[in-house]
């Protein structure tokens, strides 16, 4: 049996702190052409990026909010009050020693253990908009792997960067991808050369530490033929009263036979709008796998997608969402089959606590004349309280014969019998509930890298505190 002492190690106030801001570069609040020009000037963007931003802004202003299907809560975002760009005035760092002390303290509060840092293959940590710390482990560098901030990537590796940038997620994909295209800064650029298998996961930690400040990182990962890479992204943020916007764009490109695994643990503060576009492209025999955990934020809208463009490509989304009071986790997955013998798998588990709302929104598309495509979708929802809410909205299109698609979803709650049984064995109701919930997500969590599964279990226990009795 699990002891309770472990769970007490972390408490909810973990994100409730911030250090004095010292932003030397601040574009001010609101979004206009001037903001875009300012960002381009400060970042010394090449002309094509400047033009890209302008198109992004134009599209963003033209597109309406998707409120005909999405949450009306989106209307609460005041785009004029958001600061779209600011940087702490530090350039990307090569070594840990060069990182300012207060930022180091921040990382410590985040609980990144010393041990783990050593373990990291390379760290791209984002403090506000700019990459503060970037360290590529020697071994990875020697293999020819490029792991830098997106700004550095577009400047130093334009021939690879430009070829793929904005190709999987075009500017006009949706309103928020357009916004990101206009004001993006930060994020990672990774290129893994043919045949290189990156042994250790590449990690990046993101934080928001400025009121009303939206974070618009842009990540582009390219795994060349036969390459393999795992990328991890984890988020925590301090609490503020005014809504904060986080709108990232992540593009993954897995060339022939390559494998990319992208892992996210999202734990933004409960006032954050987290509106993210994530999409991967899988060529022949390639595999793109999204592992996505959403625990924090006020409203998250995120539907990781895979376009299976080459024969025998595979796509997978494993997702866990936890919605507590005042939270709406609107997550899901999109699987676009565009070649024969492509297979995809979606497993989604959500837990709604208190007045929380968890939504699964999915899309599976198998167009004409494809053969032997397969999709499997499973969505399970767990309701903890009478006021909790869960929704499932899948959309599945299948054309032609020779394909097999199945979708299944269920909604249930922890059975009274289970709780009674555990109480009989001396556990409190809350402990029993926590154990049941962990059991509910266990088969998914086990597929996560070890350190993430430990962190996740603790986070779930934290969220469960006070939800029963």
């Amino acid at each position: 049996m699990k002891t309770q002492t472990k769970a007490v190690d972390i408490n909810r106030s973990i994100g409730d702190f911030f250090y004095p801001e010292a932003h030397v570069r601040d574009a001010g609040a609101g979004l206009s052409e001037r903001t875009i020009e300012y960002i381009s000037d400060v970042k010394e963007d090449p002309d094509w990026v400047r033009e890209f931003r302008r198109r992004g802004l134009k599209t963003f202003l033209e597109k309406p909010l998707p409120t005909h299907w999405a949450s009306k809560d989106l209307e609460a975002i005041d785009f004029d009050k958001i600061r779209y760009y600011l940087a702490p005035g530090t350039e990307a760092k090569r070594s840990w020693e060069e990182v300012p002390d207060d930022i180091k303290r921040t990382f410590e509060r985040l609980g990144i253990p010393e041990q783990e840092r050593k373990f990291l293959a390379g760290v791209e940590a984002q403090f506000d908009s700019e990459a503060v710390y970037s360290n590529i482990k020697k071994a990875v560098g020697e293999q020819g792997v490029i792991f830098v901030g997106s700004t550095e990537g577009l400047k130093n590796y334009p021939e690879i960067f430009r070829k793929w940038f904005g190709k999987v997620i075009p500017i006009a994909d949706n309103k928020f991808s357009a916004l990101n295209s206009a004001v993006f800064s930060g994020g990672s650029f990774i290129y893994v050369p043919p045949g290189v298998k990156v042994k250790h996961p590449l990690q990046a930690y993101f934080r928001i530490n400025a009121e009303n400040f939206g974070q618009f990182e842009r990540t582009l990962i390219i795994a060349d033929e036969g390459a393999e890479v795992t990328y991890m992204e984890g988020c925590t943020a301090p609490k503020f009263n005014t809504p904060t916007l986080h709108s990232a764009v992540v593009e993954l490109i897995a060339l022939k036979g390559a494998k990319i695994q992208y892992i996210t643990v999202q734990n933004w503060a409960s006032n954050v709008f987290n509106l993210v576009t994530k999409r991967g492209l899988a060529q022949e025999n390639a595999e793109v796998k999204w592992i996505d955990c959403n625990i924090g934020s006020r409203l998250t809208m995120k539907y990781p997608s895979v376009i299976m463009k080459g024969r025998k490509a595979r796509g997978e989304v494993l997702s866990i969402a936890l919605a507590n009071d005042g939270q709406h986790q609107d997550t899901g997955a999109k699987m676009i089959h565009a070649a024969d013998e492509t297979t995809s798998n979606i497993v989604s588990k959500s837990i709604s606590i208190g007045k929380g709302r968890a939504t699964y929104r999915g899309l599976v598309h198998v167009p004409k004349h494809l053969k032997h495509c397969k999709n499997n979708t499973e969505c399970d929802a767990l309701l903890i309280n009478a006021t909790s809410r869960t929704d499932t909205y899948p959309a599945i299109t299948v054309r032609g014969t020779g394909n097999a698609v199945q979708h299944e979803a269920s909604v249930s709650q922890v059975s009274a019998e289970q709780i009674f049984y555990m109480q009989q064995r001396g556990l409190s109701e809350a402990q029993a509930m926590s154990l049941s919930v962990n059991g509910f997500v266990n088969d998914l969590v086990r597929q996560f890298p070890m350190e993430y599964s430990v962190e996740l279990k603790r986070l779930i226990e934290l969220e469960m505190e006070g939800s029963v009795g």
Binding site: H68, W69, V366, K368, H369, A381, L383, N385, A386, T387, S388, R389, T390, D391, T392, Y393, P394, A395, I396, T397, V398, R399, G400, T401, G402, N403, A404, V405, Q406, H407, E408, A409, S410, V411, S412, Q413
Partner: protein, 439 residues
Amino acid sequence: MSLVTHEELKQPSPLLSGPAELRELPEWFHDQQRAAWKQFESLPKPTRKDQAWRFSNVALLDLAPFKFGGTLSEEERTAILERSRGLDEVAGRMIFAGDELIERDVISDQLKKRGVIFQSLERAMVEHTELFRKHFMSQPTILGSAKFAALHQALVSSGTFLYVPRGVEIEQPIEIFHWLNGENASVFPHLLLVTDELAKVTVIEHFRSVNEHAPGFACGVNDLVAGPGAKVTYVCAQNWAENVVALQMNSTVVDHDASAMSLNLHVGSRYSRFESLSRLIGEGGRSDLLAVAVAKHQQEFDARTLQDHISPHTASDLLYKNALDDRARTIFGGLIRVEPHAHFTDAYQKVRNLLLSDDAEANSMPGLEILADNVRCTHGATSGQIDEDELFYLRTRGIPVSVAQRLIVTGFLDEVIQRLNHPAIADHLNRLIEEKFAT
């Protein structure tokens, strides 16, 4: 047997010219119709961007060519009556052609004596005004077709009214025929079925076209009310001509301990949209929603459902099966909604698509919205094709491929039909499916 005829002459005028004032209907009903017409005109046309019309071919909903039906000649009337063959044994029958009641087989004196009312809608509005006004289109149209429900209300001129009082069980089914007659003709079928406590009734509606090639438009609304402990079974056999655009909005209200079962068979029409709203308003209520569709050629079947659990301790079970051939398309948009406080809900929803051709397309949107606790809700959607092993097995038994395929498809669909537990109706529906395969 009595023959009911309409005195007024209906000249075919365009549908979009609005409601005719000629009909002898109560003034309050005319007022409602005028209001409904205004609503129809003010509501926007559906677009694919509406979630309720996602994947639908909304371009087919151009009503400009359609006209009101003209009057029937004596020969036409005889021919239609001749062709109105459904079940062998029924408790009562009504036959409509172009929204005109052309024949009515009345119910037995015994049933009449026990208070069963089976009459035309226009008579019921006069003779049973209170009951009529209480239930006629009393449920909101929330599955997307509010505009077309308004159109129906504005233009409906006849239909069936059936009231089954407390404790009365009608053993044989009640049968209703609706015929579309003439080029670009339109009909607005309506069934208002009210059952009181512990009553029991089965109704089957046949939708057919006189001319198998004539384009036409059908826009129907059914109000089905299952009183406490009542058992209501509703079957619809939709077999319009393959150029017809059809919309049907059904609502079922299920009171405590009542059970409602509906089965829709779709074989006809160019485009058929069927909206089924099932509201479970009392504890112990149960609703079964079944549908079978055989889509061929360019046909498009667009089913939208809502299993609305309002009261605790209610159950619903949906099973929709589509077999798609040629360039046919099907859309299923279904939602199980468990309202706050509707605890101990047990809801199930399953849609299965069997694709028989490379150009067929099946869209499934099974949805769940759960706002209560202690529920058991499951849904599933599958799309696939005929199992090669099954086909091989049948071929080794000397059955030709085409026959084997048909056997497998009928077997696939028959699972739904057998749920009705009514051999005579099952035979009839299976015959329609057989005929469809022959085309």
